[in-house]
Amino acid sequence: MSLLEIKHVAKNFDDTVVLKDISLNVEKGECVTIIGSSGSGKSTLLRCINLLEQPTSGEIVFDGVNILNKGVDLNHVRSRLSMVFQSFNLFNNMDVLSNCVIGQVKVLKRNKKEAIEIAERNLEKVGLKDRMHFKIRDISGGQKQRVAIARALCMNPDIILFDEPTSALDPEMVNEVLKVMKELAANKTTMIVVTHEMDFAKDVSDRVIFMDQGVIVADGSPDYIFNQCENERLQSFLTRRHRSPVERIKEQPNLFHSVTLGD
């Protein structure tokens, strides 16, 4: 049995269909990346997994239990499925250490001393132990995202969900976050990563899923997805990403019209 089994999940926002019949299994220790263009439903899928969005239909079986069943302790499930957000979502009214401690004390009912020790250990892991008494607004974007990862780790989750963790960062800060994520993957942490970082998908993940318009189009090893799969939509997505901005502008005839006239 897989750690996480998503069966025929669909999600509508009013009349808009965002996810259509998604089925997906994630094994323990696996690092799965989900790629796809904006609006393909990959973030919504991730948010459905820890029930920040309620799927319209389908089943999500986590550790043998369908978490969509009534009577399932939602908060307990969420504490085992930590999430790292694009916009960090760290608590602005606390310092770095308290951000990592509060969930442990309030949700896992650990005593404060133990929680602080665990928080310190995880902050050390992401290289921010010296910043633990800083206010959130006094650290950089990359540091914020590393704190968010430490906060997630403190809950000892079974799976960590990453929702475009580097998309809101300046380019020079992306690597410090990716480095931490690579270490997690190397330690066999179960991770589901929605990302636009193709190199991460290629080099680090065990499995890559390509989504387009609310369905899983391709699912396989990085080698299969990037080198072998000949699916048309995947190819168009990958080539589009590799073209330079100038080429992309050239594709839009109206935008480039005034310049080409001079030729």
Partner: protein, 260 residues
């Protein structure tokens, strides 16, 4: 007219009147503001309840609370505190409450003070409810999602994440209520609360020295509001953890302490 002479008579013979008035006004404004804040937080919770579409048993207690809180807020903000004070005075008198017998002999609490404290607190509650509600609405949705993703429940999120941020962001507006209360407590003279306006008026009437006495009161009110402004700026300053030194004089000339 000998204003200078009036001043010396008023301050010399009736100085105690003004001191008593200052003490009463400060007490009214502080109790009104903090009491109003505490009750206003509950008012905001009541107004933010969303009973629609919930279980019948939940709707049954949530609807009355929500309707009460909304009505309270509309009525108390839509009528003058002076009128509220008079209604409160005669209304409670009809019910047989004898305000002038409660806490008599305690300095400052003599006469109608207790009634005055209740009126100003109930009035401020309505405004504080509005302020806290706006503060809660202003907290980024991501903060709630972050807390939810850790498995925190709604109450934990409220008390550890959203409410502290709502209050922090509302401190300038909450402080403003305090300053408003320092000035507006003067209307409580209609129910004979012995605050600064009432006492100044009493001193004036002892020898028809109205202009001089009200001038003194005006200066005292101005001093009180300036001190209050300074204290609030200092609180904000400390909370923002600024490294530079806080200078009281800056409050008068640079109203912005927040860096751009």
């Amino acid at each position: 007219m000998d204003i200078a002479g009036d001043f010396s008579v008023l301050l010399g013979n009736y100085g105690i009147f003004y001191l008593q008035g200052i003490a009463a006004t400060i007490l009214l404004s502080i109790v009104g503001t903090f009491g109003g804040l505490a009750l206003g937080i509950f008012l905001a919770f009541g107004k933010k309840l969303q009973p629609k579409g919930k279980r019948v048993s939940v709707q049954l207690w949530q609807w009355p609370i929500k309707v009460f809180c909304q009505a309270y807020s509309i009525i108390l903000r839509g009528t003058p505190m002076m009128v509220q004070a008079i209604l409160f005075k005669y209304g409670t008198q009809m019910l047989g409450v004898k305000w002038t017998e409660i806490l008599q002999g305690v300095p400052v609490f003599n006469g109608w003070m207790v009634a005055g404290l209740i009126v100003i607190t109930l009035n401020t509650t309505a405004y504080m409810g509005e302020i806290i509600q706006a503060g809660l609405n202003g907290v980024d949705k991501g903060q709630v999602e972050g807390a939810r993703s850790l498995g925190m429940n709604d109450l934990q999120i409220l008390f550890h994440v959203t409410l502290p941020q709502a209050i922090r962001n509302s401190i300038p507006t909450i402080g403003n209520e305090w300053i408003v209360n320092i000035k507006d407590s003067s209307v409580l003279n209609v129910i004979s609360v012995a605050e600064l306006y009432f006492m100044g008026n009493s001193a004036a009437s002892k020898g028809y020295r109205y202009f001089a006495s009200y001038l003194i009161i005006a200066l005292i009110y101005l001093t009180l509001t300036l001190i209050a402004t300074g204290i609030l700026k200092m609180v904000e300053f400390k909370m923002d953890g600024k490294k530079s030194k806080f200078r009281f004089i800056n409050v008068l000339f640079h109203y912005k302490t927040k860096e751009a």
